[in-house]
């Protein structure tokens, strides 16, 4: 490790109380999405940047959901690294279920900081801001450019956040690499995500009295037949890219997947899965249903394009003239997103984690989506390293203070190593 790394580690330790205060203040500002008003949260981060003497700007296509960006250029030719996090969080649910009676308490107890969104992902977003500030101090030792992006609608799909920046402000996001602090646990680093294909089917028939089977087909029976026929998508064989296949087959990767997502997860990562999330038809026991709604949640692995699954679904639907279908996932997304499971930034993250904590995070892909997909879909490598997802989307979400500092250390040192002038 370079002298710069040592310097950064010392500064992170010295500033520990300040960093924790920044995170605690951020957690105490409710930014649930929906409804998605993140103005106060964005102002909190902007206040930190201003206090550090850092220029920044707000890009707010939706006034209540501002995106915060900051960028510096070292003046030396080099690469462009983008730090990305989000300001919005899951809704908090019933406050009474939280042990401090308030999802926005920011209480620190037993070495943990509690609050909605602290894991997903205020810990990571604050780590990005601190990384940006620290690297700015030492910009004379770096080459290339560093950009900070803190966006406001990750939880509802990203159209007005990361997606908007890609469409309208590519200079802030189209870098050479993206580092993101979404929850991953210190033990894994993430390089890819399966993609959802959400299809809502509606079966319509004439309907009739429940004893008059000759008068109408049954919308519920057709829906059940359709559900069974749709299982065919799970038999589609992925054409897995070699680099991905090597990763998925590695025993340490499979073990890490089963450990973090439950036994069987490693097998699922490489398969198309089908969940019939909703099935709803019929008004009354003794009527033949004239309408049934079926919502299918299909997850695409690496090497199965959405187009291929759509083609299979359309082929099945030829036998179901009573059925209409609409896609409810993002139509522009063509499939799973991924970058090199053996890429440079991934190795930097592993090396730093070994140095500062003696553990080597395993490179895995995941089942759920983050904003990292915007970068990966644009051909830009994006890696996720963050805290454990304790209590994520549930009550009593929390992060260990020590883990928060660990995430800052890994982000700051990996970013510095990526940009360090040679």
């Amino acid at each position: 490790m370079s002298p710069l790394a040592d310097l950064l580690l010392a500064e992170i330790d010295t500033g520990a109380e300040q960093w924790l205060g920044l995170l605690q203040g951020f957690v105490r500002i409710p930014t649930p999405n929906p409804p998605g008003d993140t103005r106060a949260g964005a102002a909190h981060l902007a206040g930190f940047l201003a206090a550090q003497g850092l220029e920044h700007r707000t890009i707010a296509p939706l006034p209540e959901a501002p995106n915060l960006v900051a960028q510096f250029d070292t003046g030396r030719p080099g690469r462009h690294l983008v730090l990305n996090g989000h300001i919005d969080v899951f809704p908090a649910g019933d406050p009474a279920r939280w042990k401090h009676g308030d999802p926005w308490s920011g209480t620190i107890e037993g070495g943990r900081l509690y609050g909605r969104g602290v894991a997903d992902m205020k810990c990571g977003t604050v780590a990005s801001c601190i990384t940006y500030a620290l690297l700015h101090r030492h910009r004379d030792r770096l080459a290339g450019k560093l950009t900070l992006t803190a966006v406001s609608d990750e939880e509802t799909g990203g159209r007005w956040g990361a997606g908007y920046l890609f469409a309208h402000h590519p200079e802030y996001v189209r870098g050479d690499c993206c580092l993101n602090g979404e929850p991953s646990s210190a033990h894994t680093v993430r390089w890819g995500e399966k993609a959802p294909l959400w299809l809502a089917f509606t079966v319509r028939t004439r309907g009739a009295h429940g004893a008059y089977l000759h008068m109408s087909e049954s919308a519920t029976l057709i829906a059940l037949d359709l559900a069974e026929r749709l299982e065919a998508v799970t038999a589609l064989e992925p054409e897995t890219p070699p680099a991905v296949a090597r990763n998925l087959a590695a025993p340490e990767v499979r073990a890490a997947l089963d450990r973090s997502m439950g036994s069987g997860a490693a097998d699922l990562l490489n398969r198309v899965t089908l969940n019939i999330g909703v099935l709803e038809g019929g008004l009354k026991t003794n009527m033949i249903p004239s309408e049934c709604r079926l919502e299918a949640d299909i997850r695409l692995p690496f090497g199965v394009s959405k187009a291929r699954v759509w083609a299979k679904v359309q082929e099945i639907l030829v036998d179901f003239p009573q059925v209409t279908v609409a896609e409810e996932s993002i139509a522009e997304e063509t499939g799973a997103n991924w970058c090199d499971p053996d890429g440079e930034m991934l190795h930097l993250i592993q090396d730093v984690a070994v140095r500062v904590r003696g553990l080597r995070p395993v490179p895995i892909a995941t089942l759920a989506l983050t904003d990292a997909r915007w970068w990966r879909n644009a051909g830009i490598p994006a890696y996720i390293y963050g805290c454990a997802p304790d209590g994520m989307a549930s009550h009593d979400e929390s992060v260990a203070v020590e883990e928060f500092l660990h995430v800052i250390r890994v982000h700051a040192l990996a970013a510095a190593a990526y940009l360090e002038a040679r």
Partner: protein, 421 residues
């Protein structure tokens, strides 16, 4: 045709416009069941009865589900005929209809609205027939009782079943005439019997991407439906010989299919399965932890429900994540009256004289309150609207058919109450 019958016909012809308006008014009073509030309909019926100087009894064990009983005694003693109809109708999904399900509008010669077939056509007809015969009561013998009940659609405990439990002497009579749908091609003398079961599947549930983490309640429900279907198809039915001959008569089958839709006759001796409701899952991207289904199974004459229960138990025992219960009345059974009884003969003759082919005797695939009279040994016959749009969107009955049914009900009742005189 007797002088009385001729006078009755004249009265009916003179009041056709008012009769149709009454039918429309009943359709404009929504009474979907569930939820089953029938007070708007009962208000109209009570008004008509009271305007004629009658003093109807309202029997309402639940205030929102009133039952109406009215009666009169004719000049001389005789037999007791009971008329029965129900005020509640199927629910309607508004968006599937071309106009409001409660419009009562006349379009292309047909009256439209939820319940037009089942059975506000028959209810309007029986009500008006009762009023006309009341006006002519001095020339009849015996007693005529009118019953309009409130929860036929759910076979609930507050309608006909309540009357039988608490007011049996009031409603039993010597013969029952019902205006449930039958089509003018058929008179129904018996019916299949429903077994309804509710099945609930429970699994742990999970995030929708984690299909390894939990079995899916909706997928298990699908397997249960397929297993039920296979099992029920294989159960043998022992149809009584005299009925079997009738079921197999191609001339009868042709007429049944003409009246009630192609394929109808073939369902009469079969076990059928309908999944009336299916409901599972909260959100697209969650593996459902619960799914509920309601199966509507119909038993033909010759298959006792005790014979079916072990089959249901066997199928469902194979699904440890499922629990189930019967939600129909466990005392119900397929039932029938004499296919050649007196009221059958009267109805056939009356229909023929009104210019239509004599209807054939048929067992209904659906169940009605008439079963309660048959359980008590009272012959019960059904003559009513063509059921082709029953339970479907844009349910309707031709104005001409309604007026035909009104004439048949009125004349048949008059003939029953004058026979032997």
């Amino acid at each position: 045709m007797s002088a009385l019958e001729a006078e009755l016909l004249n009265r009916l012809r003179a009041e056709e416009a008012r009769s149709v308006a009454f039918f429309q008014a009943l359709l404009r009073a929504p009474s979907p069941n569930p939820p089953g509030d029938t007070r708007a309909v009962s208000t109209l019926l009570l008004g008509a009865l009271r305007d004629a100087g009658l003093d109807p009894t309202v029997i309402a064990p639940r205030a929102d589900l009133p039952n109406i009983v009215a009666r009169f005694d004719a000049a001389v003693p005789g037999r007791h005929l009971v008329l029965n109809g129900h005020m509640d109708v199927f629910p309607a999904a508004d968006h599937e209809w071309s106009r409001s399900p409660w419009s009562g509008e006349i379009v292309d010669g047909a009256v439209h609205g939820r319940g037009a077939c089942d059975m506000k056509c028959g209810l309007a007809s029986l009500t008006l027939a009762f009023l006309h015969l009341h006006a002519l009561r001095d020339r009849l013998r015996g007693r005529l009782t009118y019953t309009a009940v409130s929860d036929e659609e759910t076979f609930g405990p507050w309608g006909a079943r309540y009357l039988f439990r608490h007011h049996r002497d009031l409603v039993l009579g010597d013969c029952l005439l019902s205006g449930e749908p039958s089509s003018s091609q058929c008179v129904r003398f018996g019916e299949k019997s429903p077994i309804w079961i509710a099945v609930t599947v429970r699994t742990p549930g999970a995030h929708g991407a984690y299909t390894h983490a939990s079995a899916s309640a909706t997928k298990i429900a699908g397997r249960i439906v397929r297993a039920l279907d296979e099992e029920l198809r294989a159960i043998p039915v022992r149809t009584p010989d005299n009925l079997l001959a009738m079921f197999r008569d191609p001339a009868i089958a042709r007429q049944v299919d003409e009246g009630c839709g192609a394929g109808h006759a073939a369902l009469i001796p079969e076990v059928t399965l309908n999944i009336g409701r299916l409901s599972g899952g909260l959100k697209m991207n969650m593996v459902p932890g619960e799914c509920r289904l309601e199966a509507d199974i119909r038993l033909p004459i010759g298959l006792a429900r005790e014979a079916v229960r072990p089959h249901l138990e066997r199928v469902l025992a194979a699904f440890p994540d499922a629990t189930w219960e019967e939600i129909s009345n466990p005392e119900d059974a397929p039932n029938w009256s004499d296919p050649d009884g007196e009221m059958m003969q009267i109805l056939r003759r009356t229909v023929r004289e009104d210019g239509r082919p004599a209807p054939v005797p048929v067992v209904s695939v659906g169940a009605t309150d008439t079963r309660l009279w048959r359980y008590h040994g009272v012959p019960a016959y059904v003559y009513g609207a063509t059921p082709l749009t029953m339970g479907a969107a844009d349910e309707h009955v031709a104005v001409e058919e309604f007026l035909h049914i009104l004439r048949v009900h009125s004349l048949a009742a008059a003939r029953y109450l004058t026979a032997g005189g």
